[in-house]
């Protein structure tokens, strides 16, 4: 993993980009923090925010020419935020006299400031703070220069504020005019010189960034440099000159990291399309009263790019944005000794890709997180428990228990179907009759659809044979049951990918490169990524092209909202086919705000439901709150997730096969154990019904009957414990008498290590009836010797 490249991406994220008001303020007053404090009614803190960036804020705050307001994005939605009025009000309500300054030794060097106007005073104070011995030379008998000409400032206030300069220990030499002729003397006498007079006899060429004159010790600021009467620009140039003088004297780079001094252009483009206009608050006296200021502050939009956070509950849960996310990944990856605290977060992203769709500059966390997971696996730092269950389930799908590859039944093997009336009424029989023994299509339903919608698979296969052979007699339709490897991909387990991919590739080659008909969106994504040479088509496009299964459909009249599968977000043909099928079946469609290319994940993606079930629940909750209507999905896992979140959801197959009925009956999805069993059963059933092959049942049989109440079943689901695990524990305990006994309750407690997990089962035994009372597991291995 190239972490430096990753950090470059992090720097492109505009989440931390300042709003236009801050970028156009020459001293970068933090307007968002400022108005936020006002909103809270904390005027003293708001004053602190001002004081932090604006020198002599009690003066400048009253006369600032506020360039910030001219660029406020609120302007067209009720008028710019009146930042300058808020500043006046904050000075009035939140000013606190400064603490007595600590007099620090001034040993870094000596600086002469020519001109005691605003910019000169600012430079002097800034350099004093940095530890320089500063002397101001002022031609009149008072500091402040043009400040005295401002109507909005009372003389007493100017005097009070500027009196702090001498209290800090800065020397002021009054009634001393420095001229071009005497300037050289001062240059020789001091380490550096700041020229901040409003007029000067000689025109100097000033470096626009450093305000330095050539390579000399002379720096020019204030109106001589800004060439305009703005007080805030003048103050800014004073501050910048102080930075330059410090760098000059300490011999550090004059230009490094100064790109954003003064006014700059922010990369943030805050959209106001959905902003409700609110008029500015009018003041009823000289300044905003407390309540008026609070109301005005509330109008501030606090411009910040939060597009990805708004769209993603994962970023919301971890309260993180791509910039800080990448920094966390960087830290997690570089850590040598210590806790990798970002592991859980990295395994809680669904890798759905929505962030990239909504990001104004196109940063996507999917690829980054995927690469991170692969890196964690390579370095053996991936938490084992995060994906263990899903990977074992994948292993099951690719084992003989489920995996099956068959060509279309041959004409010879099917001849018992070729008689009247079967051949007349069954498109399937006619399809078999046209058998060419060239597999043009291979139906690949995927492991999850086979687990949860088992009953449809055989019917779909028969329909495909009938419909496709009717129009395309050359191409037979075969069947392939297995897992594409998506779980391994999500888990970053590149080492496990070949198990699925190579087998699929080999089959494809051996069968003379058939087109795969895919029913699962995750399979589609996996094929695209790992098997780009294989031509695929979605089952929905096949249905749309070759016709829907002929079932007795009672046309639906309801409105359904379509939850698109995130893995298909860029497949517009598929989106079209699905919508066409839904409309053909008589339903009306409600499009969700986040649909098609902006589809939101159901929470299954990225194996989040394994690694962080609470995060997966956030995804479901977020999705189902989008609409009151029942949901239509076309990915088996989406249905599973939504139904578990108590939302009524139908798979596209449910409405195609007319099973969108009994609307009062609660929906139920098969348990993890039932899913494995369904896959086993499907293979057995298809072999028998379609290929006339009888397979012996490989399931073990036990001499006891297990009784599990709903609570225990729910507990097993939550703890990822399979019925087969429970059976193994009980069987072992009965055979070897390895169990504990509780004489008070007469319960037994038994344990068995199955691969890398120890399962515990508490049960009551009555003859051959075993009633399970508790199940739990741990991964820690206990050495019993």
């Amino acid at each position: 993993m190239d972490l430096d490249k990753l950090l470059d991406i992090s720097n492109q994220c505009i989440h931390s980009e300042p709003p236009t008001c801050v970028a156009s303020c020459p001293v970068h007053m933090d307007v968002i923090a400022f108005v936020s404090e006002i909103e809270k009614g904390d005027f003293a803190k708001a004053y602190k925010v001002m004081e932090n960036k604006i020198p002599f804020s009690r003066l400048i705050g009253k006369i600032c020419d506020h360039p910030c307001e001219r660029v406020c994005v609120r302007e067209n939605c009720g008028g710019s935020i009146r930042i300058s009025e808020l500043e006046k009000s904050v000075i009035d309500l939140g000013y606190m006299p400064p603490k007595k300054p600590l007099l620090m030794p001034k040993t870094k060097g000596t600086v002469a400031v020519i001109g005691g106007g605003l910019s000169g005073c600012v430079t002097a104070v800034e350099l004093d703070k940095k530890g320089y011995k500063v002397t101001i030379y002022e031609k009149t008998d008072r500091l402040g220069g043009s400040l005295w000409a401002h109507e909005g400032l009372e003389a007493s206030l100017i005097e009070e504020e500027l009196s702090t300069i001498e209290k800090k220990g800065i020397s002021v030499v009054y009634t001393t005019e420095v001229t071009e002729q005497t300037l050289q003397t001062y240059l020789q006498q001091y380490d550096a010189l700041y020229l901040g007079t409003s007029e000067w006899s000689k025109h100097y060429t000033i470096h626009p960034q450093t305000l330095q004159v050539d390579d000399s010790a002379l720096f020019v600021g204030g109106k001589l440099q800004t060439q305009n009467p703005s007080v805030i620009f003048s103050a800014s140039s004073g501050k910048r000159a102080a930075v330059s003088i410090d760098r000059y004297i300490t011999k550090t780079s004059m230009s490094a990291s100064r790109e954003r001094e003064g006014v700059f252009e922010t990369k943030l483009e805050f959209k106001t399309d959905n902003v409700t206009p609110v008029e500015s608050v009018e003041k009823t006296s000289a300044y905003y009263a407390e309540n008026e200021a609070i109301q005005e502050a509330k109008r501030c939009l606090k411009c910040q790019c939060t597009e990805c956070i708004k769209a993603c509950v994962h970023m919301q849960r971890f309260n993180i944005t791509p910039d800080s996310y990448i920094r966390s990944i960087n830290h997690n990856e570089r850590i040598v000794l210590g806790t990798r605290s970002a592991n859980l977060m990295i395994n809680s992203c669904t890798e759905c890709g929505l962030c990239k769709e909504v990001c104004p500059i196109g940063i996507g966390m999917k690829e980054i997180i995927h690469a991170t997971r692969q890196s964690m696996v390579e370095r053996k730092k991936m938490p084992l428990s995060a994906h263990d269950f899903a990977l074992k389930d994948m292993q099951f799908s690719n084992s003989d228990a489920f995996s099956l590859i068959r060509k279309q039944p041959s004409k010879e093997a099917s001849k018992n179907l070729f008689y009247y009336p079967v051949i007349a009424f069954s498109a399937y029989a006619r399809g078999l009759y046209k058998g060419s023994s060239k597999t043009g299509y291979l139906f690949y339903p995927g492991c999850q659809l086979s687990s949860t919608h088992t009953e449809y698979i055989g019917d779909i296969y028969k329909h495909l044979v009938g419909a496709i052979k009717n129009k395309d007699a050359d191409n037979d339709v075969g069947l392939y049951l297995g897992c594409c490897g998506a779980p391994a991909d999500w888990a970053g387990r590149l080492d496990l990918m070949p198990e699925s991919i190579e087998k699929i590739h080999k089959t494809w080659q051996e069968m003379d490169e058939p087109t795969f008909i895919l029913a699962c969106s995750s399979c589609a994504a996996t094929f695209e990524k790992y098997l780009p040479m294989i031509k695929t088509i979605s089952l929905w496009e096949v249905f749309d092209t070759y016709g829907l299964p002929e079932v007795d459909i009672k046309k639906g009249k309801r409105e359904l909202c379509i939850h698109d599968a995130c893995a298909t977000r860029h497949n517009s043909k598929l989106h079209q086919s699905v919508r066409h099928i839904v409309k053909t079946l008589g339903y009306t469609i409600q499009e969700l705000e986040y649909s098609k290319e902006k589809a939101k994940c159901c929470g299954y993606g990225g194996l989040v439901s394994n690694a962080n079930p609470e995060q997966a629940e956030d995804f479901v909750k977020d999705r189902i709150e989008e609409s009151e209507h029942d949901v239509l999905v076309y990915c088996a896992m989406c249905k599973d997730a939504l139904v578990k979140g108590s939302k009524r959801a139908y798979h596209l197959l449910d409405i195609i096969y007319g099973n969108e009925v009994n609307q009062d009956e609660p929906q139920k999805m098969p348990t993890l154990s039932e899913r494995q069993n369904n896959r086993k059963r499907l293979k057995y059933k298809l072999l028998k019904e379609i290929w006339n092959e009888e397979e012996s049942d490989m399931s073990p049989s036990y001499n006891f009957t297990l009784h599990l109440c709903d609570e225990i079943v729910a507990l097993m689901e939550k703890r990822f414990i399979l019925l087969s695990d429970v059976e193994k524990v009980v069987e072992h305990s009965l055979t070897h008498k390895e169990r504990f006994f509780n004489p008070q309750t007469s319960d037994y407690l038994a344990r068995l290590r199955v691969q890398n997990v120890t399962f515990w089962v508490k049960y009551e035994e009555q003859g051959s009836d075993i009633t399970v009372k508790d199940v739990y597991s741990h991964r820690m291995e206990v050495v019993e010797d």
Partner: protein, 68 residues
């Protein structure tokens, strides 16, 4: 849920019909090897781990080892 405290329990070994005793037991996970006091059968050495322990301290240690 007071079946197991740190040192005593009503559970007994069914095979040996012995009361369980608290003894040092070796446990391991990933790179971690520890010796901890656990209840076990003094005869057959079968170690008792209750639900609270499995889902409490043990899970916590497992997770922290996984993040190391």
């Amino acid at each position: 849920m007071n079946e197991q405290t740190n040192t005593t329990t009503v559970w007994m070994c069914d095979k040996c019909q012995k009361a369980l005793m608290s003894q040092k037991v070796k446990v391991r996970y990933l790179e971690g090897n520890f010796e901890v006091e656990l209840l076990k059968c003094p005869e057959c050495n079968m170690v008792f781990i209750g639900e609270d322990l499995a889902l409490g301290k043990i899970l916590e240690v497992e997770k922290s080892l996984e993040d190391k």
